[in-house]
């Protein structure tokens, strides 16, 4: 009788809502460790995996209820999770050979975002870091690697020119006599196109990418190079002042002579 009562009183279900990282980290400490210090630390577990209901304290079997909002890793292409925030790169990736349309999570980890970027411990997705990942599969001297590295190299050139340009613009802001509006517009356009290239590069169309980066660099340099000449021209502004000073000086001399003559006349 008491046992029945005890059973009835117990919370037979025992599911609690796991909508915060603390609930996940009860069981998934390792993943939590990897996430700490990564670029997705603020996103947290729930940001990618969604909310679920879990039976806390359960040591055997799967404590997940797997409600509709939960994005389980079973039977899904994990690359889609990345796409929930990074839609642009995912769209581009889908058109490339680095994407596999699969229901196997293990397969999607081998070909997709996770292949190059990792998953919980993503710290750095700079071009220079990702470029190292290419060599894990692509032999040095291979066509794909050469094209990829060439495209990345041109994008790096563009970024270097852009940084130099932005530094110069910051230095010249508010300084008189040196027009910078056209350079500012060009730098803005280059910044935007670099961002578009960063998305488009996931499509791995390196020939187009390399051409676009080269073109972008040339356009930006064409806008940026005249700045030095404009600075030199402004430094030569004294050539304008000289005639005025000569004229004013001559006028003063004439007036002074006239004054001296008047003084002499009135004195005499």
């Amino acid at each position: 009788m008491e046992l029945l009562l005890l059973l009835l009183l117990q919370d037979v279900d025992g599911f609690g809502r796991a909508d915060r990282d603390a609930a996940c980290l009860d069981c998934h400490q390792e993943s939590g460790e990897e996430l700490r210090g990564s670029v997705h630390e603020a996103t947290g577990c729930v940001g990618c995996h969604g909310v679920d209901e879990v039976r806390r304290g359960q040591v055997r079997g799967n404590p997940h209820r797997r409600i509709a909002e939960f994005r389980s890793w079973k039977g899904r292409n994990l690359t889609d999770d990345c796409g929930s925030c990074h839609a642009g790169p995912l769209e581009a990736l889908k058109g490339s050979e680095h994407y596999v349309d699969t229901r196997s999570p293990a397969e999607s980890m081998k070909r997709g975002c996770i292949e190059c970027h990792g998953y919980h411990g993503v710290r750095d997705s700079a071009r220079s870091s990702i470029a190292k990942e290419c060599r894990r599969c692509h032999e040095p001297g291979s066509r794909d690697l050469d094209w990829g590295e060439a495209a990345f190299g041109r994008m790096d050139d563009l970024e270097r020119t852009l940084l130099r340009c932005e530094e110069k613009l910051a230095e010249l802001r508010g300084r008189p006599g040196i027009a910078t509006a056209d350079v500012r517009a060009a730098a803005g356009a280059a910044r935007r196109s670099l961002a578009e290239m960063a998305t488009a590069q996931h499509g791995l169309d390196f020939i187009r990418l390399e051409a676009a980066a080269r073109q972008g660099n040339e356009t930006l340099a064409a806008a940026y190079n005249p700045l030095a000449a404009r600075e030199r021209e402004f430094a030569r502004r004294w050539l304008l002042l000289a005639p005025f000073l000569l004229f004013a000086g001559a006028a003063a001399a004439l007036v002074g002579a006239r004054a001296a003559r008047d003084r002499k006349d009135s004195g005499a």
Binding site: G174, R175, L241, L245, A248, G256, D262
Partner: protein, 326 residues
């Protein structure tokens, strides 16, 4: 041609007689007034050119001044002349005022000459203050906020609403371009007419004044202004941020004594009201034969203002040096 004009307006006769009587044969001091007049006209001319490009809007003002300074052909030169012209105009006016105080040119029956000059100075100060606000850099924004806070109950009139907005800029722009210049122009007209009437420069029996000193002084001022504008062209700082803490943001040099005095609370109000009151009262107080006490008081006041101004200028640099550990 000039005969045609003369027979129809009589301008040459009127102006000639007027201006002929304001020159002095004896000293250079009256030329200061001419230089100030020339600089005022130059400010109006450069101001009109600037107003063609300036945008009196809370968001657009700073960008429009940046455009003037960088993009508009010779915009940097017009703005530099306008900025340096302000400094020279204020310095010349103060020097002129000090010289006239020393020579006792405010004494009866020339009180109105002095008072019109004081009104002119007030209008120029108003113009300078409102002008500094217009670029809406950090100094400008700070100026607008100070004006609003000092206005007390009239703060909403100064700001054109409960907070800084387009309306604020419009008001400062109108004050700078219309109200204060109009008062200044009227004051100048009155001042020059009264000077001519009292023959300040060419006293009876003295040789007639020649315009040459005034012309030479004006040419000298123009050359100095040109050299300053070319050597030290005026740029513009970053856009003012109302939320930024404003330590070390200073007003125009002529307002530094007031800036320093305002730190003491009542001393600021005392200066703001007491100094104009003293200037206005001067011709009526300085009537006796013995000028020494008034002269000494005047010099003491000038020295006090100079000290306050220097303190105001130096303030912040000591704190900044301490903060950087030097």
């Amino acid at each position: 041609m000039s005969d045609w004009l003369e027979s129809r307006t009589g301008l040459r006769a009127a102006l000639g007689s007027l201006l002929g009587r304001v020159h002095s044969a004896r000293s250079w001091a009256p030329a200061l007034g001419h230089v100030a007049g020339f600089l005022f006209l130059l400010q109006c001319a450069t101001g009109v050119l600037l107003a063609l490009y300036y945008r009196p809007a809370f968001d657009g003002a700073h960008a429009s001044v940046e455009r003037i300074v960088s993009e508009v052909r010779f915009g940097w030169l017009v703005r530099s002349i306008h900025v340096w012209g302000t400094h020279l105009l204020l310095a010349t006016t103060l020097a002129h005022l000090a010289a006239r105080f020393v020579t006792g040119s405010h004494r009866a029956p020339r009180e109105l000459v002095w008072l019109s000059g004081v009104a002119l100075l007030a209008a120029l100060l108003g113009s300078a203050f409102t002008g500094q606000v217009l670029p809406l850099d950090q100094e400008g924004l700070q100026g607008a906020l100070i004006a609003a806070s000092e206005a007390g109950p009239a703060a909403e009139i100064v700001k054109g609403g409960p907070r800084l907005s387009d309306a604020t800029v419009s008001r400062f722009f109108t004050a700078h371009v219309v109200i204060f210049p109009a008062i200044a122009a009227l004051a100048i007209a009155l001042h020059v007419a009264l000077v001519a009437k009292h023959r300040l420069a060419g006293e009876e029996g003295a040789p007639p004044g020649s315009p040459h000193r005034a012309t030479l002084a004006t040419l000298g001022a123009a050359m100095a202004l040109a050299i300053l504008a070319f050597a030290l062209p005026a740029g513009i700082g970053p856009k003012g941020d109302p939320s930024l803490s404003v330590g070390g943001v200073k007003p125009l040099w002529i307002f530094l004594p007031l800036y320093q005095a305002m730190k003491g609370g009542w001393t600021g109000t005392f200066l703001l009201i007491g100094l104009p009151a003293a200037l206005v009262a001067l011709p009526f107080v300085d009537r006796g034969r013995n000028r020494l006490p008034i002269l000494l008081l005047g010099f003491a006041l000038m020295a006090g203002l100079l000290v306050l101004g220097l303190l105001g200028a130096m303030d912040g640099t000591a704190a900044a040096a301490a903060a950087s550990g030097r």
